[in-house]
């Protein structure tokens, strides 16, 4: 009887804790969603109602969208951003796959040293390197070009290498040994055994790098300031003029340019969650 009582009390306490936890999560989530939601809603308000505190307008309008699409090179900017994000993602992936495989398979004597250097490089703030990187890029004549946007960002591949290395190291050694006894050359081990086994990890790293690069602000701002060559994040500044900020246009453009990333999320939300959880990044 007493036992049952205690059991019931414990279940009760657990249920209360569960409710409290979910309440907290809901509050945090709402706090995070609110600005985005307000932005999207505001983009449908006519200009004279932009500062109104009512979430919905009595006369919703698409004028800001029309304005953004006609006066703002939305396709061009999304295209530029996509080329940059995809180029950086694929480039980092190539470096990470080859680097992780070489470190795991050939186990060079400097493996420990290389891993230490890679880890240290993660701790260097990118802002500390930005001036020499910019000068180098300028000397190479890569300003306002895809090369300038992509190549210097490949220098930050350490995280991708370390993430993939974990997965290569986690492969059972007997698998690689079996391949050796089957007469594989290293290239074939990589291609026929390691890559197929790593497919989920590779997808995760690709998405992770793609999204991070899509949201990159400082580097495109420096290297490709010209409106026609730049990325979405920089292009949005065009709505801040001397006469003040055109919030309707800005929010409509921001909503439009979030759509591609939203599509990526919808298609691969599971993979993205895994990727971020694995990398330990928020």
């Amino acid at each position: 009887m007493r036992m049952a009582d205690r059991g019931a009390r414990r279940t009760h306490r657990r249920r209360v804790a569960g409710v409290a936890w979910h309440l907290t999560l809901s509050v945090v989530t709402l706090t995070m969603i609110f600005p985005v939601l307000w932005g999207v809603l505001t983009s449908f308000k006519p200009t004279n109602e932009i500062y109104s505190l009512s979430p919905f307008s009595a006369s919703p309008t698409l004028e800001h969208y029309a304005h953004a699409i006609s006066d703002w090179p939305v396709g061009q900017l999304i295209g530029n951003t996509f080329v940059m994000a995809a180029g950086v993602a694929l480039g980092q992936l190539a470096i990470a796959i080859l680097g992780a495989f070489a470190l795991a398979f050939f186990a060079p004597s400097a493996r420990g040293l290389i891993l230490t250097l890679l880890t240290i490089s993660l701790a260097i703030p990118p802002q500390a390197l930005i001036i020499p990187q910019f000068l180098l890029t300028a000397k190479l004549g890569w300003l306002n070009s895809d090369l300038g946007l992509i190549v210097p960002q490949l220098g930050a591949s350490a995280l991708a290498v370390l993430l993939l290395l974990q997965h290569v190291d986690a492969l059972p050694p007997s698998l690689l040994n079996a391949a050796r006894l089957d007469g594989t050359r290293p290239r074939e081990v990589l291609w026929s055994i390691v890559l197929p086994a790593l497919r989920p990890a590779i997808a995760a790293v690709t998405i992770l790098v793609f999204i991070t690069t899509w949201n990159e602000y400082l580097w495109p701002l420096l290297v490709a300031p010209r409106q026609i060559d730049t990325t979405v994040q920089i292009g949005l500044r065009q709505f801040e003029t001397a006469e003040g900020t055109n919030f309707g246009g800005l929010l409509a453009a921001a909503t439009l340019t979030s759509l591609p990333i939203l599509v990526v999320y919808l298609v691969a939300s599971r993979r993205i969650t895994d990727a971020f959880l694995q990398s330990g990044i928020k």
Binding site: S174, L175, N177, A178, A179, R180, L181, D182, G183
Partner: protein, 350 residues
């Protein structure tokens, strides 16, 4: 050293493997006869798996010579030694079907050597043959994850033999199977050995498995070969105390005797009648004690007898006198069934 150029013959001369300062294999001299089913057995950490990996080429010997089929292979990479291996965890390629797992090595051969390598037709035929030999015909399109433990093991065996290697190495191939499957897998390996005619080298820590399968048995102890020969030889005339206690179950009984030790097998002791207490014992070693524990083994009884502060084991067969806990025991072991060892544990023939 006699050089032997028969395919499948393995000769190890002074083979040494060190990891830093620890010695895994200590100057091993060993001949593994062509076509034998050689079982290497020993406690964990004795170097038996390392020996297998050195023969396969996955590890390089620190010193010494290794000849396979009469040829020194130290400079040959693992894939070029005409040696195949079955791994403890089978190591099947998880993303390939059974057929692709089986044919992987052959497909690589074809790609590396477009003229001399096997044709597509050859490969398909060999896959069908091996599938037939191991009863995998219906599983060829499955992935490893869809197979049972026993099926996976047969695929691993098939992948190893499809290139028709001189030597087939098996690293604890039965340890991942449950005891019922183990018996049938043992039969499968024996049958395979008969049919493919390659040299099989099998590593195990299970002395029962070793005794029952080996045509040639090698007992290893801390990086050295303690003894090698037929299972009968090792069982009936163990070269050292270590071999004596490791091979056979229950372990050989040992007791101090004249500076060294004397040993005897549980089954070799003959019980004397309880009423014979006063009569002179027949020739041989007389042991006495009180029955402490009895285990029923189906066709017999395994008995632990306490004599002062030490124990010894007896094995009673069906039809012999059955012992019960508390029974006094007087038994005698005939002189020719006693094993004498000197103070270093080396066999002494008297």
């Amino acid at each position: 050293m006699t050089s032997n150029t028969i395919a499948g013959d393995i000769q190890l001369v002074g083979l040494t493997k060190k990891y830093g300062s620890s010695i895994a294999l200590d100057a091993i001299d060993l001949h593994i006869p062509a076509g034998s089913l050689t079982v290497i057995v020993g406690p964990s950490g004795c170097g038996k798996s390392t020996l297998l990996r050195v023969i396969s080429g996955l590890e390089t010997a620190t010193d010494g010579e290794l000849l396979i089929g009469g040829l020194p292979v130290a400079d040959h990479d693992a894939g070029d030694r005409d040696v195949a291996m079955v791994f403890q965890d089978y190591a099947l390629y998880p993303h390939m079907t059974v057929a692709a797992n089986l044919s992987f090595g052959l497909r690589l051969q074809a790609r590396h050597d477009r003229r001399g390598g096997p044709s597509k037709f050859d490969i398909a035929e060999r896959v069908a043959q091996v599938g037939d030999l191991l009863g995998l015909e219906k599983l060829l399109d499955r992935k490893p994850a869809q197979l049972s433990g026993g099926q996976r093991q047969r695929v691993a065996l098939g992948r190893a033999i499809i290139r028709r290697p001189q030597v087939l190495l098996l690293d604890e191939p039965l340890s991942a199977l449950d005891s019922q499957l183990r018996a049938s897998a043992r039969g499968e390996i024996l049958r395979l050995h008969r049919e493919i005619g390659a040299t099989l080298v099998l590593v195990t820590h299970d002395q029962h498995e070793a005794l029952s399968m080996a045509t040639h048995l090698v007992v290893m102890d801390s990086g050295t070969v303690a003894q090698s020969g037929t299972a009968e030889t090792l069982f009936h005339s163990p070269a050292t105390e270590f071999v004596a206690t490791f091979v056979g179950s229950p372990a050989m009984n040992l007791q101090a005797s004249g500076g060294g030790r004397v040993g005897w097998r549980a089954g070799d002791a003959r019980l004397l009648g309880a009423d014979a207490a006063g009569t002179a014992a027949p020739d041989g070693l007389l042991v006495t004690g009180i029955t402490e524990m009895c285990e029923f083994t189906g066709n017999g009884q395994q008995v632990s007898v306490r004599d002062g502060d030490r124990n010894f084991a007896l094995a009673q067969r069906e039809g012999e006198r059955w012992l019960r806990v508390g029974d006094p025991v007087r038994a005698v072991i005939a002189p020719h069934q006693l094993h004498h060892f000197d103070q270093n544990g080396i066999r002494r023939n008297v």
